[in-house]
Amino acid sequence: MGNGDISPLTAVLPELGLLALAAIILVLDLFWDRKARANLGWVTAGGLLLVAVLSVFMAQPPETPTLIWGGMLRLDGASFVFRMIFLAGAAITALMVSENQRLSAQGEFYALMLVSTLGMSLMASAADLVMLYLAIETTSIPLYILSGFLLRDQKSVEAGLKYLLYGAMTSAVMLYGFSLLYGFTGTTQIYDIAAGFSGQNGLPAVYPAAVIGAMLLVLVGFGFKVSAAPFHFWAPDVYEGAPTAVAGFLSTASKAAGFVVLMRVLSAAFSDQALVWSGVVAALSIGSMVVGNFLALAQKNIKRLLAYSSIAQAGYMLIGVAAAGAGGESLPYTATTYYLLAYLATNLAAFGVVAAVSRLTGSEQIADYRGLNQRAPGLSLALAVAVLSLGGIPPFAGFFGKVVVFASGIQAGLTWLVIIGILNAVVGLYYYLTVLRVVYQRAEEVEGETPLAIPAAWKTAAVLSAAGIVAIGVLFLPWYNLSMQAASSLLTFR
């Protein structure tokens, strides 16, 4: 942790950097010719690295969480750590998108992705309902466009529209909840809302049932963002139809943004209803794990399989959130944040490989992965690492993520929930290993070009995320401490 006082302008320097980067990309796109434009992915990734450096050296959060910009943003460990997660996700995604001939307008693609990252960064630090709503929409609206970005692709346009209709509806429900919260307490400041419920803001105290009603409305919006059942219906369709890199971005960075908001708002505004939301989140968690894992078993398309897998993974992460409500001190949020870090590297690697394979072979069917090992040993290895990490096999990051999440559940006394989680993890292992079996099965005759030629940008993306999976798993402690830094600043009520 760095300097004691930090000026409001320095604090949002990373966000300003993202905005400037988006503008630079658009200008470069205008002036560069077709050949030079292939480098826009590298420029975006490099710029994001620069923003990350800026964030580490200029915008470190102060020791005590501080409200800036009139209480709109809160500088704390969580906003810092999650900003890093979003920047890493966006950088890897940018590398995966480059060299993509199907994208007609690359500059716009990167600019929209950067604006969305900006919105996520603001989501992680928003401390006011107005700011939070604005940040959520700044994140979502570019993502709707990115999902429908392949204008000539029938599936992509359908995915974009479906994502928008689901997203707009759930965000309207969430907003109705926000308006009730404002009405009950007379404030939109997230950290003042809890006091307002008991009548400390000059308005009469609120019926507990009304508070819980508003909380459920708000949870609809957050549940959509983290793709938890029963708000998951969009996920398989959108992941299948959207450009694969966008699906990877949705399942990692966008999900992480949803989780940080969920954790912050529940523990700050609803601290007196902790047991209630713990129960509701536990129910969402069970639903997500069961729906995700069992529907994944039947999938033939690898992107749909990963979509259902990502719903199930959200279920495991929600165990941590439920444990926080049931009284698990700082371990539960640390566990969820660590799981998100592990999941970021893992799912980016998985979607990166799927993107590369689908562009090289033109297929997204699991059956067509037969003999991939003979055609692209490097990609197969990256996919193997990712799939084993998703399944929770040591020494990969996913294993340690599951261990800490389950440990936090047991510590909070939610042993029954953890048992359901472990049973689900066993079911999950089956379909993950099925993918692996297909990839390493020896094909009698391999169709098409052998070995596949893989562009440098994709190699870099795959190597970086695969290395991340191993590093987050093997070097456990630094990542765990980072997660703890985020978690301790989110816990305000104990």
Binding site: G160, L161, L164, A168, S179, L180, L203, D237, E240, Q299
Partner: protein, 106 residues
């Protein structure tokens, strides 16, 4: 002077009608209309609550007004993107009926 509860009931009714429209209508444009109704219900809520807290407290504040203005702006942006996506779907698929968009399923 109209009591607060009347505004809240109006907003709740409008919200319910909008939600029904979103869930029951099959035309993407009609679904969008339903979402707009829901957002307008939110705005009525915000302004009614703002008015009440203004009457109760001595010092003036604008939070509710700012919130409502931002909801307007975001709703406009969302509608613009939604119509663009609907047009692109119509060009590719010759339909805007949500039920007929069934390439993605399983």
């Amino acid at each position: 002077m109209i009591p607060l509860s009347w505004y809240l009931m109006l907003a709740a009714a409008l919200f319910a009608i909008g939600l029904f429209g979103v869930l029951a209508r099959r035309n993407a444009v009609a679904v969008l209309l339903g979402i707009e109704l829901m957002l307008n219900a939110v705005n009525i809520n915000l302004l009614a609550f703002w008015h009440r807290s203004q009457q109760l407290s001595a010092e003036p504040h604008v939070t509710g007004l700012v919130f409502a203005a931002i909801v307007f702006a975001v709703a406009a942006a969302e509608t613009a993107v939604a119509l663009a996506l609907i047009i692109s779907v119509y060009r590719r698929r010759d339909t805007v009926v949500v039920d007929e968009l069934d390439l993605l399923r399983g």
